[in-house]
Amino acid sequence: MPQAATKPVPIPDDLSAPFFDGARDRKLMLQHCSACDSWSFPVRERCPHCFAAKLTWRQASGRGTLYTFTVMHQVMNPGFASAVPYNVAQVDLDEGVRMVSNVVGTGNDALRIGMKLEVVFEDVSDEIRIPKFRPVAG
């Protein structure tokens, strides 16, 4: 029997290592610029707002709202062949940055733009854990 393709597993690089290290500790780590007091995402070398050369890693609240989402049906990567239909979501974090993730813990039919979300962490391999989001209870 042919082995089923597995979902892609990110390979942290120097730049993104603090993000993935944080996720392993179940912390959502984002970069913050102390020069202009702003958060940024995704990970990069310097502040996209003021070009300050140093960004500091800080733990984000992990809270946000669902900005928009899609339910994917097309299999663009064999690792997702058995995952369709799955959601891809843009989450507006309370820190003011928008990140792409998946919403878990609820059916795709229950997704509503504007719903409150909180971060959870999911293992995608023995070494790598990634942030996802679930509806805030209540």
Partner: protein, 391 residues
């Protein structure tokens, strides 16, 4: 009011499009350029400028000059703002000509991603396209591949804010299929009803298959020269009256909404001001349509209707044959052929010349062309007319 042309289109070449296998992009490019030269009544040796649109397959680089056999060019480059590039190429060609850097410039787009061994949907996909390092790997881990998911999320946001419906997206798709049936160049000729639209499978909700552009092997070439020189050539010159870019970017901050407020707004304002005309002067639109949603949001941002009213605006079928605003009259990228910004540009040339035959828009004094690249990151606008000015 003197709004002198910035330059003129003197030649157009469009190769056969679609599932034409076994040929390289650069070979399609050569065919398109030969067709454009013949169309213009020019010799290859008349060409002194070559601007190449970098394609998604990555096989059109500046060495194409040698494969194409051009010698002694005084202007050559590869350009990319993804799908928006056609507009910026037109700008740079006209500016170079006005500056005296070149006299006759070829703009070309060519791609050949389709092969017999895989489905069209996989043409730009596959594991090789998705690196796993760092943040790119994170994106892949979420299953966020290609443009489909991103445009689907943009469309969903628009639906949430303004009540835009699948029926309204479908109206765009059905209208463009009707146009495609009238175009000898279009890939998709079979009729499409609204029921067919609804029955097409979901790709990325809310987008169905028929909301998404085609994939094409082929090439388009356009020859640009001065408005004065174009008058002596074979075809009626199509003057370039206005052009502008707007690249909204996306810093992923929650106080900005590039998914629903695009670069068409600023780019359009600048281009119309340059051309000295208003929206009412536009007889036909050729709008970048990687997805049905792109057409709808572009119409809003150009100001044909208020923000959020794009759905209601298109609902009466005014974009289709017989409608009040004939749009994407060659079938666009949804039903015609997918050559990035060269899809709307090529059809705009046909319409401005009045060579559309069965699909000719009744009013063609001024033709509006949009191009869009990335995830609504880059936008360009061109206003074309066979008239000498907009004044």
């Amino acid at each position: 009011m003197s709004n002198q042309p910035k330059g003129a289109i003197a030649g157009l070449g469009v190769t056969p499009m679609g599932k034409i296998y076994g040929r390289r992009s650069v070979d399609f490019a050569a065919e398109a350029i030969a067709l454009a030269l013949d169309d213009a009544g020019l010799q290859k040796s008349d060409i002194d400028g070559l601007l190449i649109n970098a394609n998604l397959s990555g096989d059109m680089d500046v060495r194409a000059q040698m494969t194409l056999g051009f010698e002694n060019l005084s202007l050559v480059n590869v350009m990319s703002a993804y799908g928006s590039t056609a507009g910026s190429m037109m700008q740079y060609a006209c500016m170079a000509i006005r500056e005296g850097l070149a006299k006759t410039v070829v703009l070309v787009y060519a791609d050949a991603p389709l092969s017999a061994s895989r489905g069209a949907g996989q043409s730009y996909a596959g594991p090789h396209r998705y690196p796993l390092g760092g943040m790119a790997g994170l994106r892949a881990a979420y299953g966020n591949f290609g443009a489909n998911a991103e445009y689907a999320m943009a469309a969903r946001r628009h639906m949430h804010l303004y009540g835009t419906t699948p029926e309204q997206f479908g109206t765009i798709a059905v209208g463009q299929r009707k146009w495609a049936q009238l175009s000898p160049w279009a890939q998709m000729k079979q009729p499409m009803t609204m029921e067919d639209y609804y029955n097409s499978r979901f790709i990325a909700e809310p987008l169905r298959l028929f909301d998404c552009c085609l994939v094409s092997n082929g090439a388009v070439a356009v020859i640009v020269t001065s408005s004065e020189r174009a008058r002596d050539l074979r075809q009626k010159p199509v003057n370039v009256l206005g052009y502008a870019q707007c690249a909204p970017g996306d810093n992923l901050r929650t106080d900005r909404h590039p998914a629903v407020e695009t670069g068409a707004k600023r780019s359009g304002e600048m281009a119309f001001r340059m051309a000295g005309i208003t929206l009412d002067d536009i007889g036909t639109c050729q709008l970048y349509d990687c997805y049905t949603y792109t057409v709808l949001v572009t119409l809003e941002d150009y100001g044909f209707c208020a923000k959020g009213e794009g759905g209601a605006f298109v609902a009466d079928g005014k974009l289709g044959p017989g409608g009040a605003l004939p749009t994407n009259t060659g079938g666009g990228q949804l039903s015609g052929y997918y050559m990035w910004g060269f899809t709307p540009l090529s059809e705009a040339v046909v319409q401005a010349r009045g060579q559309g035959g069965e699909r000719q828009a009744p009013r063609n004094d001024f033709v509006l062309v949009s191009a869009n690249g990335g995830i609504l990151n880059f936008h360009s606008t061109i206003i074309l007319s066979a008239q000498a000015s907009g004044g």
